[in-house]
Structures are given as C-alpha cells and as structure tokens.
Amino acid sequence: MYQVGKIAVLFLIFILGCANSENDPTVLKFWAMGAEGEYVSQLLPEFEKENPNIEVKVQQVPWTAAQEKLITAFASDKLPDVFQLGNTWVPQFHSLSAIENLSEYVEKSTSIDESNYFPGIWDTNVLDSTIYGIPWYIDTRVLYYRSDILKKAGFDHPPRTWDELYEISKSIKKVLADKNKYAIYLPSNEWAPFVIWGLQNNATLLKSNNSYGNFSSPEFKEAFAFITKFHKEKLAPIGMTEVNNVFQAFKDEYFSMYISGPWNIKDFKLWLTDSLENSWMIAPLPAPTDEYPGASLAGGSSLVINSKSEVKQEAWKLIEFLSRKKVQLEFYKLLNDLPAVKSAWMDSIFVNDKFLKVFYTQFLNVKATPKIAEWEQIAFSKIQQYAEYTVREVMTVDEALAALDKDINEILKKRRWLLDKNEQ
C-alpha cells in the first residue's frame, strides 16, 4: 500500500504538470454549437492569415447540453472570449452581466452596420436600446405546403389569411376523405406556432414590464382558440408521435401543410423526388387580416463577447470577419445556414433560389419573443405543456391559459422582486 501511495503522489505531480501550458500568439477562445462548431474552423485559416498574431481555438459544444455548459462555464469563469448564442438566450446572459455591450464597437466599425441586417432579427439582440450580440446566421418559420394537394382542393395559391388557411384545411380534409390524413401539422411539442399566432394577432405575451403572464389576453386567446380548433376538428393530428418522420409523412400526404424553418429544406428535397419534386413549395405565413404576409419568429444565432475577456478587440475582429459578405456566403455553402447580412442575400445564389426568396420576404416581417432571462423556460416547459393539454381537450382554452399565466407568474416572481429592488 505504501507503494500505492507513492504512485498516487507521482500521479498528482504528473497531473499538475499537464494542467498548464501557455502559447505565444494571442489565443482567442471561440465556442460554437453543433455543426457550426464543426465547420467554422474551415473558415478560420484566412482570418489567422490576416491576423498572424491571433490564434483562434474553436470548441464545439453539443446543442443538447449547450445551455448547461455555457452557464456552468459562466459560473466558473470559464466562458470563452467569443461565443455563439441562440438569439433568445441573449437576455439570459445579459442578466448575468456575462456579455459585453457592443454599441461602441458597432459605432466605430467600418464593416458592421445595422442597416445591413433585417430589423426584426437585429432587434432580438437589443436590450434597453443597447446591442449585445451580432447576428451570425438567421432563421424563421414559413409555411411548407403540397401545391398538388392544394390544387386538388381547389386552391392555386397558399393561404394568405387565417380564414383562408382554415378554408383550405377543410377542403383538403374533404378532398382526401381519409380519416388518417390531415390538412396541417401543428405538433404541440413545438411552442413556436402557438406563439407566432399570438404575436400575429398583436398579443402582448407578458405584461407590466414583462413581469406577469398575459396569455389570457383577448388577443392571445383568440389566436390560441383559432389554432387549437384545427386539432379539435381533426384538421391537424393530435399526438406528435403519430409522425415518426415528418419527411415521410409529408411525402405520404399524411399532412399537406407544415410550419417549419429553413433547416428542413434540404431533407424535404431529398425525400420528395421525381414526380413529387415540384409538388411542394414554401410560402410566407398567412396573416390574421389582409396584410399579407403575417409575422413570424425572429430566430437564429448571434455572436457575443465575454464581458470578462482580456482580448475583446481581437474577439471583435473575429466577429467582423465572420460577418463579411464573402465569409457568410461560404458559411452558407458549408452548412446551409442562412446569412445574417442582407448584402449576402443579393448574391446570385439567393436571388435565383425559389425557396430562399420566400425566406427573404418572411425575414422582412419577423418579431421577437419577450426578451427576458426566463423566456426559454416559459416557452419550452410551460407553453408546450398547456398547448398539449388543450389539444388533447384535457383543459379548455380558458382553463389552460389561466393555468399558464399562473405558472408563468410563479416563474417570474424573482424577476418582479429584482425589478422592485432596482426601483428603490
């Protein structure tokens, strides 16, 4: 055992020796999520060539544990100098004072200009009229639809208004005359469509400086009742598990309309081939009134700088580099992530692509979800939960929204306390 002890001590020394090592050029730590983390390193040699004194160390953070990872990193002062954040996470990291105010950087910058971004997207990074993140790539939701089925149902265009959406859905259901086929797919484990409909109807989701739930407001209630009507009238399937594979289901006419983002374009192209190749299309979302197109969600990822970084200027240089039109286009080619800078959208690839043109139109009308730290929890754990209860008719619309507000008020208790405290 004596020996064992000695070995243990030697081990400790070995470990200590391994722990530290420093490099000469300025090391810039950069974390990116998932596939972005994997592919972004292919763009960086050019940056390092332009800036020989900077060495970028990229680390890939898996999406599934990204939130845990980033906040534990914050708690232990291990956040990298520059990192990717889903744009709805920006408020959370701002509330922790973890990210740098970028207003001055933007003001001085010759390459990054607010006017080169979609206003709705840019706005998601603005808190108290200060910018904290620069959009890196963007997404939003549009309507995927089977044009052949719509034609069969007697419509030569996608729905432009809510009423038209409902009418088309009823006609599709009638034409297909199959109780196992539905008009539209609105899975209750995706909060986005429910929130989009509310935002379109000008609902204020949270009230009193975002400190109380306001889902029982007439505007949201109307929208929520409208969308859950599709489930109740069997125009949309109820269980999400009935659809194992959305691509297969879309191909099999299980549903003919689906609200989703740009990430699905590639796979739908792969699944709907040959005779079905031209049988589907995407369109901007319908609107409650005649003002087509209706609003959608401002999604995507932003780049932010760690407020405690010692190499903020270098970090900003990297953000500027990644925001160049040329680099954004290369990134699109690698990953199909839609570029955040509008100048990239003027490139021929974009102008000539029928799908991308639709996204461009939709990006001109996107809205942000409430910009508070607790939003993620509200959306993922609460809205989905009560949407599920409503479509399964466990609760009525009124009951579900009242319960939702009650839960949200509980979640926002701390926020109210902080607001009170800061006022004093």
Binding site: I15, W63, T72, A75, D77
Partner: protein, 274 residues
C-alpha cells in the same frame, strides 16, 4: 457430461436464450462499427458488414480527438482508484481495529447517508470547486472521489472476519499501527481491494454527468462525454457512434475479464454478510 434428459436441456436452453439477449447489443455494436456509412440503417438489418472496413475507427482517431479523450479517462480513473483505495482502507482499518467513542454511531450515520442521491450535492459541490479554482482540471473529478462511504463499508465488512489474534501477536512483537496496517491488514484484504479498485475504476470511467459539467474544454473531455457529444452531432452516422462505443467499453471489458474472478468473489463476500 451431457445427458439427454429433458431437464438439463431445458435449463441450458434457457441460459442460452438469456445469453443471446445480453450479448446481442454488444455483438451488433462491434459488427456495425465495421460497416460502411449507412449500412447499419437498412431494413432488414444487416447482421454482418458486407464489406469489412475500419474507416469509422480511423475517422475517430484522425477527425476527432479520441486519443486525448482516452488518455483523460485513463488518468482520471487510475488516480481516483489509487487515492480512494488508500483513504478508504485506512478508514476501514480505523473503524475496525480502533476503539473510540461514538464509533458505531458514526458508522451508522455514514451508512445511512448512502441513500442520499448524489445529484443533491452537485450544485453546492460545483460552487465549492469553483471557489477552489479547480473546475476544468483533473482535480474537479479527483477531489469528490477521494473517499467514499461504500468503499469503507465494503472493506470493513470483508475484514471483520480477520481474527484479532493476528493483530495482537504483531502488537506484542512491538509493531506500530502503521506497520500492522501495511504488513498485516493490507495483504489480508487484498481480494476486496481488487474488487473495490475495479468498482472505482469502472465507476469513474463510466461516469458521465459530473465530467460533463466540470470539464469544460474539449481537450479535457473523458470518453463518455466525448461520446455524448458525438451522439448529438453525428446522430446520422450510427456506424461512427458504434465504433466510438466499442472504444469506450473495450478497456472496461478487458480490465473486467482479466480480474473477474477476484471481482465476483469480492462482490459476493462484501454483500452477503450484513
């Protein structure tokens, strides 16, 4: 001695069926890891690769940093094992052969605290290690593993059968406590130490959540953390994930097979007596 009576045949048949169930996942893991991209995702499933390939493995070593992950796993598992063996056996020795007030009470408290789920301690421990500045170092894994109640319990259980006369004789010969510990106690409890070593090694090797939270840099990841990373980013490459899984469990299986006799013996001894 194979007899053709129905009973033994039935018995052995049943055992073979259970074996098929327990081993199939492993066999398929190995088989799929040698398949070409996409060959594991077919219907009906392929049981053996059409074309034997090691591309998945070479991808792991060239494109991904699996060597580093492996090294981390080894360093951590071995350090935790060695240190905790030392600490646990010393404590067990004290609990067994020393007399002091409240000994039984202390031991009961320790034992009953084993039902506290370890996840309870995660956040306070995390904040503590953060204050100590050891997050993202090997110490973040080693420190919480320095000693554990289960280990002390197991050794004490095993060593209860050692006759006191052995120690008395040494004492009369003028041996110090430390000499008695190294010369008599440790050699006698060797079998249970082997068991415990395996337990600790495997526990540390297989642990997932704690390293996921405390080791933030990719260069610090252990194999399971690297695997979960692979799982969320390469879920469309099952063959690659299978190869990673094989590499993750291979060392454990080798260690286990090499020492399984002592392991199972020790396990039996430790558990039944209470």
């Amino acid at each position: 001695m194979i007899s053709l009576k129905p009973k033994p045949i039935l018995l052995n048949l049943l055992l073979i069926i259970i074996t098929v169930i327990t081993l199939t996942p492993f066999l398929w893991m190995v088989s799929a890891s040698f398949m070409l991209d996409g060959h594991a995702s077919t219907y009906p499933p392929r049981f053996l690769p059409d074309e034997f390939t090691i591309t998945q493995y070479s991808k792991l070593f060239t494109k991904l940093n699996i060597t580093t992950n492996m090294l981390n796993s080894f360093i951590l598992s071995i350090s935790v094992t060695l240190i905790s063996l030392l600490f646990n056996s010393m404590a067990a020795y004290a609990f067994l052969k020393f007399r002091f007030k409240g000994k039984e009470k202390l031991f009961t408290i320790l034992l009953s605290s084993m039902i506290i789920p370890s996840q309870v301690t995660m956040l306070p421990l995390f904040l503590m290690l953060k204050e100590m500045g050891v997050i993202n170092t090997y110490f973040a894994i080693i420190i919480p593993g320095l000693a554990n109640i289960f280990g002390i319990f197991l050794i004490r259980q095993y060593a209860q059968s050692i006759p006191d006369s052995l120690f008395e004789a040494a004492k009369i010969d003028g041996a110090t406590d430390f000499q008695i510990y190294t010369k008599i106690f440790v050699p006698i409890i060797k079998p249970i130490l082997v068991t415990l070593a395996l337990f600790t090694f495997m526990g540390t090797w297989n642990d997932f959540l704690w390293p996921l939270i405390t080791l933030t840099d990719e260069s610090m990841y252990t194999l399971p953390v690297a695997m979960s990373n692979l799982m969320s980013e390469h879920s469309k490459d099952p063959e690659l994930m299978m190869a990673g899984s094989v590499l993750t469990i291979l060392p454990i299986i080798i260690v286990f097979l090499a020492m399984q006799k002592q392991y199972i013996k020790g396990l039996m001894m430790g558990s039944v007596k209470e």
